[in-house]
């Protein structure tokens, strides 16, 4: 929170606003996604009484503003311009386990206000805490909320307001997946990234490829084949394995361990990893850390823990006929992909 809110436009640091009724789960979401708080511990979070601003230093810098529940965001006492000017997305959290009529009314008012002054802002509605609901009831609730919001908007004359809906819970990966999609909309290079991933998948018989931000575990792009939350979960769990093992064995060794110099030849700092499953016979998961340096932040901006360098990882779920013997081919193509990525994100 040490950094000032962005005041100049175009500095590439979008702002995500978390809004919604009290106790809808906004602070929990922000703590779980950005501070890795275990979900069960959100029970002890205190009510938010003032706007809490968090800066995320990830592959892309962005800010998350967590708002207290009961404020009128368009009250003249609030500096609306300052709030909405740099905004990338407005995330509106609705508690699906609670009465939601009031929440929808306030959301409606907010969208109308935004449409007048800031029509470009994405409105992302998180239908939240769906973990407590039976499958049927959850679908009904979700549909009902979408219907009401859209009816209200079309009554007010807005047919195509940019509003999207997600079902989320902090108790599973759905909240990370929703954030991924919200953030992807803010990356102008997304179509290029998708095209690159598509061609990688094709050339190496990869079933699904994700480009992950390792720190936040949000994926910033995937190939355009259908996504499945299971795939995302698997890849996200796999990142945990690599990060945890790297922490355990990557500790700082004093210089000059016997014979250490000889190993200079493999001075590749980007980790790579591969898992082969017994029953499958194929290499099943492939991970490669991608150019920690491309996204290297300017020295002056470094507020984050220096040990937590920020970088991306490419994770591929291999197809049935992509066997471990083809690893050289995959390595080669990943190298090509990496080069292309440098063109997309020049320094």
């Amino acid at each position: 929170t040490g950094r000032l809110p962005n005041s100049k436009s175009g500095d590439g640091k979008p702002r995500l606003l978390l809004m919604g009724q009290r106790r809808s789960g906004k602070s929990s979401i922000s703590s779980v996604v950005f501070h890795k708080l275990p979900p069960s511990e959100t029970l002890y979070i205190e009510a938010t009484t003032r706007v809490k601003k968090e800066s995320m230093h990830s592959f892309m810098d962005f800010q998350v503003w967590d708002f207290p529940g009961h404020v009128d965001y368009f009250d003249p006492a609030f500096d609306t311009e300052n709030i909405f000017e740099e905004i990338g997305a407005l995330i509106w959290v609705i508690d699906a386990q609670d009465e939601y009529i009031d929440a929808i009314m306030r959301l409606h008012k907010t969208i109308l206000n935004l449409q007048q002054h800031y029509p470009a802002i994405n409105v992302e509605v998180f239908v939240h805490k769906v973990d407590g609901l039976s499958d049927d009831f959850r679908q009904d609730t979700f549909r009902d909320i979408i219907q009401r919001v859209q009816d209200d908007l079309s009554d007010a004359g807005f047919e195509n307001a940019p509003v999207s809906f997600y079902q989320t819970s902090i108790y599973d990966h759905s909240i990370f997946e929703a954030f991924s999609k919200v953030i992807q909309k803010l990356i102008p290079q997304l179509p290029t990234l998708e095209a690159l991933l598509n061609s990688l998948c094709l050339s190496c018989r990869i079933e699904k490829a994700y480009l992950f931000d390792v720190l936040s575990k949000i994926y910033i792009a995937t190939d355009t084949s259908p996504t499945d939350i299971g795939n995302y979960e698997l890849c996200s769990d796999y990142i945990d394995v690599i990060v945890d093992v790297s922490e355990i064995y990557g500790w700082d060794r004093p210089e000059g361990e016997a014979g250490e110099e000889e190993y200079g030849e493999s001075g590749n700092q980007d980790a790579e990893s591969l898992i082969t499953m017994e029953k499958k016979g194929n290499n099943y998961l492939y991970l490669r850390e991608i150019n920690k340096s491309v996204f290297q932040r300017p020295e002056s901006a470094s507020m984050a823990d220096p040990k937590q360098s920020r970088y991306l990882a490419l994770i591929c779920l291999m197809g049935e006929d992509s066997s471990a013997e083809k690893k050289a081919l995959i390595d080669y193509n990943v190298g090509v992909f990496q080069e292309a990525l440098k063109q997309v994100f020049p320094r």
Partner: protein, 326 residues
């Protein structure tokens, strides 16, 4: 090959008052439950037996003894010799949150008395459980106090009983069970010797031998600089990392968690290389080596060559002299 493999049955009693967490921990360590699943478990009625094939032919014969008063009464009277006879290990679980600690200890000493009567050579492990519910700064002291008090009630086992603070929500559970299993493996020393030799041949920084299905550590060898690794809890941590990952894999692939095994996993970085590979029918070997492709490739070949020697050691694949207590 010897067609009639001898099975080494080792009887393990899991006891403690109802709700202490016995079935929960058993399900996590041996049945691929994750911590949050255990809320679904009901109270255990009488004794639930499970036979767990651990390494080779070592068979753990686990008796999960329901802790409600009526059942315990019955264990101590009608079923006394049936329950307490030929026990290799007693694991007694205390719930740290219990409001009747004194009463729990009285129950414990009744059980200890029955045990020393029927299986005087058994080994006793005490788990002081649900430590996650105690504030961090109070944990050590509370644990020490309780352990002291319980030791005082341990009669003939006073000097040999071992204590662990545990919780299903962190790796402490793995630490405790690793020690228990280690105690039950009859030929740990010869496995270690062989592992030490292998570590020297392949120039490993560390080798860890894991049982495949539970991911519990059997033993490890640490060399040189790695002895200074600041993560002293790394063996339990790796156990639980692997366990979690297996669960994740099985969920995705549809392979049951019990059989979702990696044939191979490797991580290569500029600071270290790490891989896990099959060593014997029941064990996986995790190796941390210096960051060099040559060392990596040579290590894989040498491990392949060493497999037959380890296979011979896999417990009881050769007839051995009978051990005490079993």
């Amino acid at each position: 090959m010897n067609s009639v493999k001898r099975q080494k049955q080792r009887k393990v009693l899991l006891m403690g008052k109802s709700g202490a967490g016995k079935t929960s921990m058993r399900s996590i360590v041996f049945s691929n439950y994750v911590a949050k699943d255990v809320r679904r478990l009901g109270a255990t009625i009488d004794v639930e037996h499970s036979n767990i094939k651990f390494m080779g032919n070592l068979m753990l014969n686990l008796w999960d003894c329901g802790g409600q008063d009526g059942f315990v009464e019955n264990y101590l009277t009608h079923q006394r010799t049936h329950v307490f006879g030929s026990v290799a290990v007693l694991i007694f679980v205390f719930d740290i949150e219990s409001r009747e600690f004194a009463a729990d200890v009285i129950n414990y000493s009744n059980i200890i008395r029955a045990l020393s009567e029927c299986s005087p050579n058994a080994k006793v492990f005490i788990l002081i459980h649900k430590m996650d519910l105690v504030q961090t700064r109070l944990r050590d002291q509370l644990f020490a106090e309780r352990a002291d008090y319980i030791r005082g009630a341990s009669e003939g086992f006073k000097d040999s009983v071992d204590f662990f603070a545990t919780s299903i929500w962190d790796q402490s559970l793995y630490r405790a069970w690793t020690m228990i299993i280690y105690h039950l493996i009859p030929n740990a020393a010869s496995i270690e010797t062989l592992l030490q030799q292998l570590a020297e041949v392949i120039d490993a920084r560390e080798l860890i031998l894991y049982e495949r299905t539970t991911c519990l550590m059997v033993t490890h060898v640490t060399r040189g600089m790695e002895n200074e690794n600041p993560y002293t809890d790394r063996f339990e941590r790796i156990s639980s990392i692997l366990k979690t990952h297996k669960q994740s894999m099985s969920k995705h692939t549809g392979i049951p968690a019990g059989t979702a095994n990696f044939a191979e996993m490797q991580i290569k970085t500029g600071r270290f290389m790490f891989f896990i590979t099959r060593l014997t029918e029941n064990t996986n070997l995790a190796a941390s080596i210096p960051p060099s492709e040559q060392i990596f490739n040579a290590a894989r070949i040498n491990i392949l060559l060493a497999r037959p020697r380890f296979a011979e050691l896999d417990i009881a694949s050769r007839p051995r002299a009978p051990a005490e207590g079993g």
